[in-house]
């Protein structure tokens, strides 16, 4: 734990902003630079920062579940996004798009987006897990 007052006061704010940036970067990834991998890394860096300032137990408590469980959820989401085309008679990982109108705004929903969100969870979960275990004991996988 690095204990300066400035760091401890600002790090939750910076972490929150970083997490928002992570979500933004993930969602813009389909048509612009960004995506699940880089978004996940940004999210993991936010948790690692919080771990430095407030200690690893606080971060684990804030996450509620073990970081690897998030990675498992992401993997499940990504594969399910790939399996969805089985119901429409298309190949594995074929992109399916739908454009529902929500409150008069057209929203683009697609399987690549869910795949990307899955990647986000896999990367952020796995990297947070590694970073936290390194911060906690200085070792351990």
């Amino acid at each position: 734990m690095m204990g300066t007052v400035i760091f401890r006061t600002l790090s939750p704010l910076i972490s929150a902003l970083t997490l928002m940036l992570a979500v933004f970067v993930t969602l813009r990834g389909h048509n612009d630079p960004g995506g699940g991998f880089i978004g996940g890394l940004i999210a993991a860096s936010a948790f690692a920062l919080l771990g430095l300032s407030h200690g690893v137990p606080a971060v684990r408590q804030a996450l509620r579940f073990h970081p690897m469980s998030y990675a498992g959820f992401g993997l499940l989401l990504a594969v399910c996004a790939g399996l969805l085309p089985i119901f429409t008679g298309r190949s594995f990982f074929t992109a399916l798009w739908t454009f529902p109108q929500v409150l008069g705004v057209e929203i683009a929903l697609s399987t690549p987006m869910f795949f990307d969100i899955g990647v986000f969870f896999v990367v952020s979960g796995a990297m947070t897990s590694i970073a936290l275990s390194l911060e906690q004991r200085g070792g351990g996988v």
Binding site: F37, A126, M127, I130, L134, G138, G139, G140, V141
Partner: protein, 125 residues
């Protein structure tokens, strides 16, 4: 331009081989990371270098027009970076763990799996 990149890749590989010849795990790891970067540059060069436009389709067109950069090597490099990054992170943790548990960073001293004082097989029945 390709020849300049070829020299750059060579430099990467030479440095990484030098580092990997070390007995210290951390140097070997840095060497492997550099090797991975060298290979990524190699893939980039193998896809031919062009100083043209990025491979984006204009909003009013249906296909790419004109000469654009080759997008495939970029996808390959991205994949390679992601994979080698995750495995490198695992190996880094493992190397640190080995340093803690085995008490050394020197591969000569890491003989937990293959003890030096192995008596050898029985010679008579």
């Amino acid at each position: 331009m390709e020849s300049v990149f070829a020299l750059l890749v060579t430099a990467f590989m030479a440095v990484s081989v030098y580092l990997m010849l070390s007995r210290h795990i951390i140097r070997v790891l840095i060497g492997l990371a550099l090797l991975g970067n060298g290979v990524n540059l190699l893939i980039f060069t193998a896809g031919r270098l062009t100083r043209e436009t990025p491979p984006l389709i204009a909003p009013d067109a249906e296909a790419i027009t004109g000469i654009v950069a080759n997008p495939l090597p970029q996808a390959l490099i991205l994949t390679a970076i992601v994979i080698s990054f995750s495995f490198f992170a695992l190996l880094l943790v493992l190397g640190f763990r080995a340093y803690q548990d085995l008490g050394t960073d020197d591969t000569d001293g890491m003989r937990a799996a293959e003890p030096v004082d192995d008596p050898g097989p029985p010679e008579g029945y």
